[in-house]
Amino acid sequence: MIEFTLWDILRNLVFATRWTLLLSIVAFAGGATVGLLILFARISKQKWLRRFGSGYIALFQGTPLLMQLFLMFFGLPMLGFRIEPWTAAALGLTFYASAYLAEIWRGGVEALPLGQWDAGASLGLHRLQELRLVILPQAFAITRPPAVGFLVQLIKSTALTSIIGFEELLRTANAINNATFEPFTVYGLVAVIFFVLCYPLTQYARMLERKMPAH
């Protein structure tokens, strides 16, 4: 029987936190990339693309993330992919993040005055250039607070990947708890670690929001 000191528990948890962080970063980057495509569909001139975009967003925002992760985990092998918890977790969170980020950015695009599009067009820019040079930089700037807020939500959501077997912070905590029988300490520490990760970002989002010019 191995004795675990508080320091052992904390050290192991902190060590496992890198997987939580890595997953958050990968999911945010992946979500931003896919989310941009969904945003283009959502604000497209083609009706069927807009329909697809809003259907995609409604689907991911209207179903539990846990179910999305299970569908990834059990669905992808059927298509012939060999899937590990890491892949299912990263892909699942990427799609989840893409829907939320696309919706946040759409809000930004629609908040811009129509004159911005007209001005772009009058300079002879075609649609992609308008988006790249005029619309998106402004839309990203005004939606930075909710995007950072969503990053907090995403970091918290990585805890769910413990259920499909990805060895992040919470799954490590479960294993330590099974060895030490000290759930109060172990889950308390997990909460503290998540708080340390998320609270600065929450404050940052709040600061950004305060600095926003009032409309």
Binding site: L71, G75, I163, F184, Y187, A191, Y199
Partner: protein, 222 residues
């Protein structure tokens, strides 16, 4: 080797799925009522004269909002027994969900209370209403009307998050799905069907609330 989808198990599973969905709805109904009551109290506490009370609510809101729901649930269900508080899984689930949702709705309710013009309360006082009447009959309905869409969204988010209480063996929809797929070996189909049911539930809850809100708070609720 190809894989063919098979939904033949669905006929025998319908009972379990309905039972699970009913439990999910029961959990979110309790959470909504308790959560909104608590958040009205907390929003008032946050605006009270007592600094300690204001601080306490602020700390509670920050702690809940910056930690995952699943960790809160495990802390309550597995952690609290070691200091002598042992809870039934359903009670633990409702407690965790209520505490989680109230942290978000406290902010929402607070914003709604701040949005009601001061003159409304003053006018009601001038008409001779007692302070409690002023709050319940004048301030609260107007605040609720403003924050109604945000409240609906929060209820739906909580309903979707409630899928994780399957992890402490509460027999709600996600847990029934876990049991079914272990029996039928049709994991993908099972989770697919259950995911669609969640989607249906979230759309139904939105409709229900909008209709109910129009009834109680008058037109203009969306």
């Amino acid at each position: 080797m190809g894989y063919s989808l098979d939904f033949g198990w669905l006929r025998d599973a319908a009972g379990a799925i309905v039972h699970g969905a009913a439990m999910t709805l029961f959990l979110i109904a309790c959470t909504t009522v308790l959560g909104i009551l608590i958040s009205i109290l907390f929003a008032a506490a946050r605006r009270s004269r007592y600094g300690v009370l204001r601080k306490a609510v602020a700390v509670y809101v920050e702690v809940i909002r910056n930690t995952p729901f699943l960790v809160q649930l495990f802390f309550i269900f597995f952690g609290l027994p070691s200091i002598g508080i042992r809870l039934d899984p359903i009670v633990a689930a409702i407690l965790a969900m209520t505490l989680n949702m109230a942290a978000y709705t406290t902010e929402i309710v607070g914003a709604g209370l701040d949005a009601v013009p001061k003159g409304q309360g003053e006018a009601a006082f001038a008409l001779g209403l007692r302070p409690r009447q002023v709050f319940v009959k004048i301030i609260l309905p107007q605040a609720l009307k403003v924050i109604f869409p945000a409240l609906i969204s929060q209820v739906i988010i909580m309903m979707l998050e409630s899928a994780v209480v399957s992890q402490i063996a509460v027999r709600e929809l996600a847990h029934e799905a876990d049991l079914l797929q272990a029996r039928t070996f049709r994991s993908f189909e099972t989770y697919f069907v259950v995911t669609l049911i969640y989607l249906g539930l979230s759309m139904a809850i939105r409709r229900l609330f909008v209709a109910g809100g129009r009834r109680m708070l008058g037109a203009g609720v969306s």
